[in-house]
Amino acid sequence: MSAIPPSRLRALAVMAGLAGALVLALLLSAAAGVEHIDWAAALRPDTAEHAIVFRARLGRALLGAVVGASLGAAGVAFQTLVRNPLADPYVLGVSSGASVGAATSIALGLVGGTPIAGCAFAGALGAMALVYRLGLVRGRLVPYVALLAGVVLNALSWALILTIATLARLGTTAEILLWLMGSLSPPAWSRLALTAAAVVAGVAALQLLAPRLNALVLGDEGAHSVGVDVARTRKLLLVAASFLTAAGVAVAGPIGFVAIIVPHVLRLLVGTDHRVLIPASALGGALFLSLCDTLTRLAFVPLGAEPPVSVLTALLGGPFFLVLLWQRRGERLF
């Protein structure tokens, strides 16, 4: 701890550590579960053991990693966009839009995973478009206007969801609530691949914007002075980060806390250079959510029921974050 390595080296070490930990977490998820596994049988396709290990466990953990990566990276982007350490991807209405889409789909009886995810994605993008347009003041995206629009859209969406739930048939209300709690299920491979492709594209887009994000932290004038088009950068950032969030929320529902805690922890570990912070937060989010989800599955043994993964992300992430805050009290967090 006494000899601090150069920041580049340290960043690389953190990233390598996160990647290694992610691989271990995925292996752990494949190995751990409520059923006893005959490993010889698990290696033969078409056995129940194979389906359990590779699809029920690993497939779900991979989906968790993909969704976690989207939330981690999007969290960084939103916090920088609105220059507020409390911002998360949901504050700009993306998850509310997704929730309205999902609730509509469930109420119409378009159930079974894919239709719900499709409607949720459409709802998320619709919300994003609305916030984007409302946030434009004379052609410039003004963060606090977008923030205000997002907050109002959240309230409006919630009212819409409650209305849909009230008018829906008996039982549908519970199904809408289940979606709103946010959880991971073993995905069809096609859906996992589609989500992963969207998340990789979104993270790559943010990575391309990373040097400009570094400039945004300097404030508008500072950014201008280093030759960054602030207005254009903000627009690109909002679209890329919302798209990324939409991809994750559509398949897992609104899972809380990942997008707030992961960027903060990684800022403490790797600093505020977005070229490092974005990929590191994506890796960190992937690790955190896949670990939490494995614990969610194991929680069935003592509890007799699986809590939604959002419960674990807050229960584990919350105290950890509070301890960090305490240890770093007085230092700049953002």
Binding site: D46, A48, A51, V111, T172, E175, L178, S185
Partner: protein, 301 residues
């Protein structure tokens, strides 16, 4: 208002002298109940299963209002005034219908609704029918409250004979392993102590989720390991629009015998999970799905 208040006071006073001929009924959660008239002439039902049972025991003509989810018996209930949802009915509408008694179900309604009705001087009776074994009590109570005790007894005998006939039809057959999926993502199934669990038993199947209790989350890997022969999907999508998609969803787990043998079935939720008058229909439908070789009435979809 004074009349209402005195009625309410009268009700509790009446109960304190419990056990007398003119004394109140006790409802199925232990509350004293004194209907405004005996037998009751004007009834409001706040639960779909209660509505079904009232019509089944011949008290349908006494029903003056229903909750918005009461959809059976079809053709008889559509014209009745709706008083709103089970969870948050319109107290104003209920009072306006001047019922002698409001009937609730513990699982569908809230206790607060009964309490609020009591404050308004409207007597209410809460039924509690968590299992098939509780059907006799609920049916007898409804019969006694509505002056249709004999009809209720006959209907109960009919129901029990119907269930016994289904049991007899599948007796001695190998009992397929059955999973009832209430919702796929996150996975919710029907464990023991559910109506559907009871009906699976009647229909000659064994519930692979019997170690779970109630409608609850369940690990998918446990489903894969348990390898159910049949998967039942109770759906309440309007006119079954989502049924095909709900069945197709399971194709991703080809190691399950139910999927391999194309024995994943959507079935109308209300006939397998509602403690109503169509239990025998639900049991027969399940039996025909679990034991297709048997001569069975009412084939599945």
């Amino acid at each position: 208002m004074a009349v209402l208040a005195s009625l309410a006071v009268g009700a509790s006073a009446c109960h304190r002298g419990a056990g007398m001929a003119a004394a109140a009924f006790t409802d199925e959660v232990g509350r004293p109940v004194t209907p405004r008239a005996r037998p009751t002439r004007r009834l409001v039902s706040l639960a779909p299963n209660v509505t079904e049972l009232l019509f089944a025991i011949g008290a349908g003509d006494q029903v003056v209002g229903i909750d918005r989810y009461s959809d059976q018996p079809a053709g008889r209930v559509e014209h009745l005034p709706s008083v709103g949802s089970d969870y948050e009915p319109s107290l104003e509408k209920i009072v306006g219908l001047t019922p002698d008694l409001v009937l609730l179900s513990r699982s569908a309604n809230r206790r607060e609704t009964a309490d609020a009705l009591e404050r308004l001087g409207v007597p209410s009776f809460i039924t509690e029918t968590p299992a098939i074994a509780d059907m006799p009590r609920t049916m007898r109570d409804l019969g006694a409250l509505t002056g249709h005790a004999a009809d209720a007894a006959a209907q109960l005998a009919h129901l029990q004979a119907g269930l016994a006939a289904v049991r007899a039809r599948v007796a001695g057959q190998p009992r397929p392993r059955v999973l009832v999926v209430v919702w796929p993502e996150p996975l919710y199934v029907a464990g023991r102590e559910t109506f559907t669990h009871d009906l699976i038993d009647v229909a000659g199947g064994q519930n692979v989720a019997a170690d779970a209790r109630g409608y609850t989350t369940f690990p998918l890997e446990r489903v894969l390991a348990a390898a159910p022969d049949v998967i039942i999907l109770p759906t309440h999508a309007a006119s079954g629009t989502g049924d095909a998609a709900a069945v197709a969803y399971w194709a991703r787990w080809p190691s399950l015998p139910a999927v391999r043998d194309h024995r994943v079935f959507a079935i109308e939720d209300a006939i397998v999970s509602r403690p109503g008058a169509r239990l025998v229909e639900g049991a027969a439908r399940l039996a025909s799905l679990l034991h297709p070789a048997q001569p069975a009435a009412g084939a599945g979809r």
